[in-house]
Every structure is written in structure tokens, then in C-alpha cells.
Assembly symmetry: C2
């Protein structure tokens, strides 16, 4: 539905470059970023519902059809759906994104309020700016560019925006089962990953799996005075540290028996970054973007390999005892840790969960009890790259970045990718525009505006290329 | 100042047994327990001042002289002083206590509000009920019993109640220097320790020292996504667990090089509980009171020895990363631990601090930085028991408990005891009435009413015995 001012022929790419378009998009995205749609925290459920409602309205506003909120499965968070299916002889693309975001603590570490988008220099700061509200808007803005100029999309599009990605998409499989007819497509496009760096467009073909766990160690039935009883009671915090330290050696090699049994000690050389000089040289740059001084990790592998193609164990949270000002002479009665494994394609969350349980059963000292809670895991995935749609992706990147994308693996997990693979059996395209410096899952998350606008152009070109296949 | 009703001759002990006295005392103590006088938390400074003011008024009310609040040293918390010095030919006793209390978290674990005293069965529950507001009131009530019946005390008494004991009495030494003339006495009496059990009155002749420390481990400059970067960045929580686990073996033996160099591997047999059948049999009972199933600690020593006569290391607090509901995929940028050593007489806080620094310097992995903050330590003490005043103590216990007190060491620390020893060079009497089940420093702290009232009687008898010396 082009406006009067746009009756002069403007292409979708030209439209996306107009200052007026860009200003409007940043304002709209800022409105979307204002919803504290934190899926992990139950008290934010009303914010989730409000964000979904707002999003469905926005999809209708830009000209998509059938925009609606679809109820969640088993009390889960709702999804948002819309489509544009008026090119009967063209392929159908399913775009997936998520409107939920990570928790924001430590809030004190944020320079600007996490749910009030702040434009500073080339960056828009807010929780979700990159992961995934901002990247999702790259697609919406690309589609808006088509609909506002040519009044149509060159391909058919369906869009599914879920609200549980940051909690490992626990109901995605059941949702896809229920909505199979509505969502089925010829390919799936997701922008929820990162490029190696701003000069190096990347198609991600591998994702690590994920297994989250929470370990509670219980000691004495109540807190005890550490002066009076220190040395005579097994301290649950001591046991917790010992158990966590026992799971990994100082080089980052997981020390759980059997953990590497199925892991190929040699990385497959066929698709990798070995040939990409620009990537090989950037280890120092990656560390700088992460504000890390010293490389670390499993011996015999590069940094890029360690964070994408090798499994890892990370302690995500530790808590116990007194942590206020000064000191408290206490042997606390309990301590907890949250930790997670990233898994490579030869591993399965179920098998690693079994190995973990066995390891903890062996190393729990007699003076304490433990409670282990294992989360819903995500399987690792390797994507096929030989479908013709990948040529359209490469072509789109070449037009915007002036070079072909590198093929890379990401260390992150996208549980829904495995679900798409299994249930749809169509190509899944991971066309991410995030950068390592985006600080996703951390305070001061941001998206680079140049990545954002270049991303919109890339998606516009991709639609055009895909229509030609 | 006896009231009209008490003109009939009632002895101080009889007065302390009257239901009316006891009811009034519990009400007054409850008023005192209502002040959240937590010295560790700076925001409670106004509560500290209010508690001190209230206490000075109470000391005047019961008939003591010169009751006043004395300003703290170097901005420290104020002290409360009073005296009764009208027995010129009798010895002068300095009673020491403290009106500050430990923090109350986790507040959710309290069955009743920590600053609203609750009388349930034989126990009065509140923060400070035993440590040390309740035990301090044993002395005040004993003095009130004398003053309300005979109108005088059989000895001279000074009382100094400080407000910084729970933060290791950082200014006590300077305070005693400033107030030397005002406070000097022939003996010091403190009730801030425990008896072995309710049947076993105990004089404590040894206290462990204390050294508190806080370790902050700093990793990447900001939180990182643990999927994208897990395996390539040294996690500060991992390093923290490794460093803490490296400081102690699983049997509770401190693994810091040089830690035991000065520690006598054999306990001195002269004064100990070896001969006390009632104590030797109570290991299971101690564990039950602590709600602990399994004995633990340094091989070759009994539970009682481990918690009183051997050094120990306790992690008091652990914090880092995400600890809310669900999971967060994060490599946090920092983690912290609070821990403390209890030291035996051959050790000094300064030496152990040096060993700790050396140990941490050696075991800090290259990928992280650390910040170590060491608190003001307390030296361990061994008290002489051969002063005649100890016979008066033993006599008082014999009258109330029907048996001589055992001589025991306590695992706790009372920094001020070393200061008294050094600056006054007079006997220090640790006449504690607490019980292991009092849950001091923990939720649901309480004092046993039978201990409380028996304690008052013991102190009344002690004054009388001391006057006879």
C-alpha cells in the first residue's frame, strides 16, 4: 500500500535507504524494545502477552495478512503469526524469530535503562536490540520496503515469532506439530546468529546443542556459626565448589567420564573457516570485542573452533551464604549453582545428562545431599548447504557486502532449528547480522545500525534472488 | 531501690525466681531485641544509635550509675557504659557484652520476624536472643536483682557494651586505650559463649582466632553469551570454584602451603575434655542439635577438637552470574566469595593472610584477575585458669547446676578478649550460657529460658563468691 509520496517509482532497497524510513523504523523498534518480555521470569507473563499483541498489530500495519496471536502450548507463551501468500507460483519462506528476551540483571551494570532504547553513536542499546527483536525487525522492515513500494512480496512468506526461545523453546516441537499446516514452507529463514565480524558476512551451518542444569547442595539443616562449628561440618558451599571444579579441568576440557567418547577428536575439514584469511586473523579482535585479555580453552583447537565446534561447560550462576557488606560468620545450610553444557553434533543432551548424573553421584561427599534439576536440552545441529536456496543467500550477501559469505559454525543453540529439520525437512537458513560486540545476554546489549540497515538490504535482495530460483 | 512490695526480705536469687521479675525481664529484653542493630550493614547505623541510647537508659533505670553512651572511635559504633563502684574494699569486675547483632538473611527462613521476639515453649526467638543481647541481659538482670533487694552490689562493677563485635571489634583496642582509666578492673566477665550442653556448665579457656577475606574474580570485561563463547573464555565462576576448592582438601584439612607449620599436631592434654564422660558421649547430640547427619573434619581428631582446637576454613558466601528462575546463558564477568579462617593459638592472622596471598597468587589462572580483601583479624587466645576468681566461678556453677563446670575451648572468636589480655593483664572469665541449638548467626536464633534464668542465678552467686575472695 504505497503512500502518495511514494508514487514516484522507488525500489524496495531505495526505500530502505530513505532517512524517513530509517527514522520511523528505529522509533517503532524502540517501542517494541520497551516490552520487558523476559520469558524466564514468570512475573513477566503479562509483558509477554502485551508484546505479542503489539507485534501482531504491527505485522498487520505493515501489510501482512492473517496477523494474529496464537495461543501457547501447555500454558506456554503465545506466538505471533502472519503471512503474505499471494505469489502462487513462487516458493514459500517461513521466517522465524522470537520476541522474548533474556533477564537483565545485573541491572546496575547497564549504562541506560534496559527497556528504554537509547541511540548512541552507531548503536541502539536495549535488551533484545540484537537478540532477537532487532534482528527480527530486519525481516519486517525488508517486507515493509516491498509492500510500501511495489505493494507485494516477490515470494510467499509466513512468519512465526515465538516467545520461548530464551528458555530453550520447550513447546516448539508440540507447537509445530499443532500448526504444521499453517507453518509448512519450502525453506526457513532465521536471523538470530552473529557474523564473524562486520566485514565478514557469514552463513551459519552448525549450532551447538545445550543442556542446562541446576545443582543444589544441602548441608546442615540450618545455618551454623562458622566459628563455633567450622572444621566439624561439611560446608555445602565447599562441596559445591569441589563438585563444580571436578567437572572441568583448568584448560576447559570437561572431566566428566565418557563426555568425549562420541566426540570426533578431529574437526571435519570440508566446511570450515580454514581457508578464510580474514577470519583466521581475527582471534585477537574477537577477544577485544569480548573484553578478554587471554585466550583460553581446550588445547589443540583455535579460539573459533573452541567456541563453535567443541563442547563446553559453563557455570552460569553461583549463590549461597552471606553476600552483603562486611562478613558473616556462617556455615550456610545450602548453596546452588546453575550451569550448562554446549554440545557438538556427535553428542545428545540425554546422554550427557546421564553422564552428569553419574559423575555427581560419584563426587557428592558423604556430608551433603544434592538436588539436580536438568532443563530441557537442545540438540546440536549441522545444516546441509547444498540446496539451491543457499545460492540466493550468497548472492544477496555479495550484493550488500561485496563478498561471498563465509560458512561458519556458531557456538550458540537454537532449539527450534532441530525441530524444523525433523518436522519440515526443508533447508534452514541462518542469516545472522549480529556482531560479537553486541553484548547479547549481557548488560548494555546493542545492535549496530550499519548492520541493521545492511541486513535489511540483504534480506530484500535475498527475496528477489529466491524468487528467481 | 527496692519497691514497697519487696520490703519483706527477699534475696537476690529469690527475686530472680519471682514470676513478676521474670515476666518483666522478658518484656524488657523483647524491647531491646526489637532494635535491628546490625553492625555489618551501614544503613543500620541509626538503629545502632537508637539501641545504644535505649540501653544506656535501661542501665540507669535498674540503678547503675554513670550510665551513658560513649562515642565510637574513628566513626565506629558507639559503646554503652555504666558502673556501680560503692564497695571500696571489694574487687572491681568489668562486664563486657555487645548490643550489635548479625545480619538476618535469609529472612525467608525465619519462622517469626527476626526483630519481633516470640516466646514459644521454653525459647525466646529473635536475632540476638542468645548472641549477645540475651546473654548480656543475664548480667543486667542479676545486678537488678541485687539492687532491687539489697540496694547494693556485693562487688564493684563496670559495664562496657560495644557495638562492633559482629564485625570483629575493629576499634576495640583503640577504645580500650582511650578509656583505659574508666574501664580498668580486676577481672573481666563475658557471657558470649556456649556451654557444651544444658547439663554441662562450661568455662571457656580457649578461643580460636579469625581471619575474614573476600575474593573477587574478574573475567571478561562484560557478561558474555555462554553459547557463543563457552569454551573460549575463562569463566570467573569456574576459576573461583577451582581456587576455593584448592584451599582445602575433602577432609577439611587446609591445603595452603605452610598453614600448619606452626600448629602443634598433638593437642595439649592438660586442660581438655578427655576426662569428661558427659562431653565425650555427646558427639551425636551435638550433630543432632546442628541438624547434621554425618561427622566430618580433619582425620585424627574428635568433633569437639575439630571445632575448638584445630584451625578451619569456611566459605561463608558465594555469588555470581544469574540465580533467578530458569536459566540464563551467560559467562558472567565476575564472581565473589567470602570466606574465613579460624586459627589456633600457634597461628597469627597476619601470617595466615600472607600464606593466603601467596597461595592465591600461585593458583590464579592466567585468564582472570583477582581482588583479595582481607578483614581485620582476631588473634586466638588461651586464658589462664589459675587465678582465684576461677574458684568463685566454679562455686557459682556448682550452686546452680550442682556440678563443677568443665573447662573447654570454643571454636568461636571474641577479638576483644585478646585486647583485654594485652591491655589489662587481668583474668578474663568466659561464662557462657548459650547452647549449640541456639542457632546464633542463623535464622530462628533463640535463647532457652531455663538457661537464661539459671544464668541469672549463676551470676548472682558469682558476685557473692567473688566478694568473699
Amino acid at each position: 500500500m504505497p503512500t502518495a509520496a511514494l508514487q514516484i517509482k522507488v525500489s524496495p532497497v531505495q526505500f530502505s535507504r530513505l532517512a524517513s524510513s530509517r527514522t520511523a523504523w528505529l522509533e517503532t523498534l524502540s517501542d517494541f524494545l520497551a516490552f520487558p518480555s523476559i520469558s524466564a521470569i514468570p512475573s513477566h507473563r503479562p509483558d509477554m502477552a502485551a508484546a505479542a499483541e503489539w507485534l501482531a498489530n504491527h505485522l498487520a500495519r505493515i501489510g501482512l495478512r492473517h496477523a494474529q496471536v496464537l495461543p501457547g502450548i501447555q500454558g506456554g507463551c503465545p506466538s505471533v503469526y502472519a503471512d503474505w501468500l499471494l505469489s502462487p507460483d513462487k516458493p514459500t519462506l517461513l521466517i522465524y524469530g522470537h520476541y522474548d528476551v533474556q533477564p537483565v540483571d545485573p541491572v546496575s551494570a547497564w549504562c541506560t535503562p534496559p527497556f528504554k532504547a537509547a541511540l548512541i553513536g552507531d548503536s541502539l542499546f536495549a535488551r533484545g536490540a540484537s537478540d532477537d527483536k532487532g534482528q527480527l525487525f530486519i525481516h519486517l522492515n525488508a517486507m515493509e520496503s516491498y509492500l510500501k513500494t511495489w505493494g507485494r512480496l516477490p515470494i510467499n512468506v509466513k512468519i512465526w515469532i515465538e516467545g520461548e526461545e530464551e528458555i530453550n523453546s520447550p513447546t516448539a516441537s508440540a507447537f509445530l506439530m499443532r500448526e504444521f499446516e499453517r507453518l509448512k514452507a519450502d525453506a526457513v529463514l532465521i536471523s538470530d546468529t552473529e557474523m564473524i565480524n562486520a566485514d565478514c558476512p557469514s552463513i551459519i551451518y552448525g549450532l551447538r546443542g545445550n543442556l542446562t542444569a541446576e545443582l543444589e547442595v544441602l548441608g546442615p539443616g540450618r545455618d551454623l556459626h562458622s566459628g563455633r562449628y567450622g572444621g566439624g561440618v561439611y560446608n555445602p558451599l565447599q562441596a559445591l565448589c569441589e563438585m563444580l571444579a571436578s567437572m572441568q579441568d583448568r584448560n576447559g576440557r570437561v572431566a566428566i567420564e565418557g563426555f568425549y567418547d562420541r566426540v570426533n577428536p578431529v574437526l571435519s575439514p570440508d566446511v570450515s573457516l580454514q581457508g578464510c584469511k580474514c577470519c583466521q586473523l581475527k582471534e585477537r579482535q574477537i577477544l577485544e570485542a569480548l573484553q578478554v585479555d587471554t585466550p583460553w580453552g581446550e588445547p589443540g583447537f583455535s579460539l573459533q573452533e573452541r567456541i563453535t565446534s567443541r563442547p563446553a561447560l559453563t557455570i552460569n550462576g553461583l549463590q549461597g551464604g552471606y553476600n552483603g557488606p562486611g562478613a558473616k560468620a556462617v556455615i550456610p545450610s545450602r548453596g546452588t549453582a546453575k550451569f550448562s553444557f554446549r554440545l557438538v553434533p556427535e553428542q545428545s543432551p540425554r546422554h550427557v545428562a546421564m553422564l552428569l548424573k553419574r559423575h555427581l553421584a560419584r563426587c557428592t561427599p558423604p556430608g551433603v545431599k544434592t538436588r539436580l534439576t536438568i532443563g530441557k536440552g537442545a540438540s546440536p545441529v549441522l545444516l546441509s548447504l547444498d540446496h539451491p536456496v543457499m545460492q540466493a543467500v550468497a548472492g544477496a550477501f555479495r550484493k550488500t557486502w561485496g563478498k561471498a559469505p563465509v560458512l561458519a559454525r556458531s557456538g550458540g543453540s537454537l532449539p527450534v532449528v532441530e525441530v524444523f529439520q525433523k518436522q519440515f525437512q526443508v533447508p534452514v537458513i541462518l542469516m545472522g547480522f549480529g556482531l560479537p560486540s553486541d553484548a547479547i545476554h549481557a548488560p548494555n546489549e546493542k545492535i549496530s545500525l550499519s548492520q541493521f540497515f545492511r541486513g535489511i538490504e540483504t534480506v530484500i535482495y535475498f527475496f528477489a534472488e529466491y524468487a528467481k530460483l
